[in-house]
């Protein structure tokens, strides 16, 4: 269970959240919705530990985002609209560098399996600069496969379904279902309210501090 207690986040002089409480259960998918500028990305980036917290706590089991920084980042995968891919590297090189950067060591087979999970295998030697937006997003989502190898506990995904076609969305949903089965926690933002048909939770930032279960 990922807990947010009395969370206050300030950006410049703006207080984005004050005394915000919520929790994200394991094996659960939470979709954060809200108007543009309501703080969806800010919330995700705060949980990832990029944005300093003014007040309050973010914790997962015994880990705290501020105290156990190294263990915290080891348990999460964060993917946002910028993808974090270098234009001058191929799809494969980008993924391999990312895994090394995470401090994990893996075999070439696993890297290929990860690319296969989003059907990017045949693009593995294509430069990112030559990829379409959808392909880039899939190249970024291939990282999620390593959750099943290295014991990642939660995903923070900022509009992961943007630019994805129907087939890729299906592949993404397969990864989501697989992660939920191994007790993962997924927090994502989207504007596509029809993305998931299954039961999921909605955190509507426009109705701040309220949580409605559908």
């Amino acid at each position: 269970m990922l807990n947010l207690n009395n969370l206050t986040i300030q950006r410049g002089n703006n207080i984005v959240f004050s005394d915000f409480n919520t929790s994200f259960k394991t094996s659960n998918l939470t979709v954060i919705i809200g108007k543009n500028g309501s703080g969806k990305t800010t919330l995700l980036r705060t949980i990832a530990g990029f944005i300093p917290i003014e007040n309050g706590h973010i914790s997962l089991e015994k880990l705290d985002v501020r105290i156990n920084k190294n263990q915290w980042v080891d348990k999460l995968i964060y993917i946002d609209i910028k993808n974090g891919l270098s234009q001058d590297l191929t799809v494969f090189e980008n993924l391999a560098t990312w895994v090394d950067m995470k401090g994990w060591s893996t075999s070439k087979d696993n890297l290929i399996r990860a690319l296969r999970s989003v059907e990017m295998e045949k693009y593995s030697n294509v430069y990112i600069s030559q990829c379409s937006e959808g392909l880039k997003k899939r190249a970024a989502l291939a990282r999620l496969y390593f959750s099943f190898i290295f014991g990642v506990k939660f995903w923070l995904l900022d509009e992961p379904s943007n630019d994805l076609d129907k087939k890729s969305t299906m592949l993404f949903k397969e990864l989501v279902n697989r992660f939920l089965k191994i007790n993962g926690t997924i927090i994502l933002t989207t504007h596509d309210t029809n993305l998931f048909k299954k039961k999921y939770e909605i955190l509507d930032l426009d109705l701040l501090k309220e949580k409605i279960i559908i």
Partner: protein, 230 residues
């Protein structure tokens, strides 16, 4: 602890490899830097005119100023590219300290931009009619000073990270830190020219490089974290 430090080394190598590939695939950037330095030196030689004595007095200084000026426009890009494509966000989800990663960036900039530039300088020595006796000292001092320039550049690049008009702000901010490198770098070759011992200047240049080596990754990491939290 030992497994920790070995994984740090692995990450350092991973990043050097990554930056090496990226630099290799954007070689035009390097060509632009070398041609810019060539331009600076050609302009100086024409500006000085045909009197050889005048050229002899300032040839070392021209090489050093040319080196610094040619590198400055490319410094900002070293970090800005990775901020724009979101790579820094991913780096923050790595258990490896940002300091190590930034240090590797600085080293890779030194190895893949500054060293090739220095290797191309013998052409400029001919243009400036620099004594052959001085060449090894000049190359050695520029190699050491180059690392210092790269480290100072890292501070500058992280200071203007994500800022608009960073390319204008950056030179103003880092030139003061470059001055000691310039003074002792030129000092080494002036000593050789006057047939004195260059060792004092060399040691001071090394000392400044080591100081920058220690402080630069920490200052830069702090600045990068601020830039990302914005």
């Amino acid at each position: 602890m030992s497994s920790n430090s070995s994984s740090w080394l692995l990450v350092l190598i991973t990043h050097l490899k990554r930056d090496f590939l990226i630099n290799l695939r954007s070689l035009t950037d390097l060509v632009a830097i070398i041609s810019f330095m060539l331009l600076i030196i050609i302009l100086f030689t024409f500006g000085i005119g045909p009197i050889k004595e005048n050229l002899d007095i300032i040839s070392n200084a021209i090489i050093w100023v040319g080196l610094i000026l040619a590198l400055i426009p490319s410094l900002e890009k070293t970090l800005n590219k990775d901020l724009e494509n979101g790579w820094f966000d991913q780096l923050l989800t790595s258990p490896i300290p940002l300091e190590i990663i930034l240090l590797s960036k600085s080293i890779s900039y030194w190895l893949m931009v500054i060293i090739p530039l220095i290797l191309s300088t013998p052409i400029f020595f001919i243009l400036l009619d620099i004594d052959l006796k001085q060449t090894p000292w000049l190359l050695a001092s520029m190699t050491i000073g180059g690392l210092a320039i790269s480290l100072v550049g890292l501070i500058g690049a992280s200071l203007v990270l994500g800022a608009k008009r960073g390319n204008i702000l950056l030179p103003i901010l880092i030139i003061p830190l470059m001055i000691p490198i310039l003074i002792f770098g030129v000092g080494i070759n002036e000593a050789i020219k006057m047939e004195e011992e260059p060792i004092n200047n060399l040691l001071l240049l090394i000392a400044f490089t080591l100081i920058y080596l220690v402080i630069s990754p920490f200052i830069s990491a702090l600045l990068v974290r601020i830039a990302i939290a914005r």
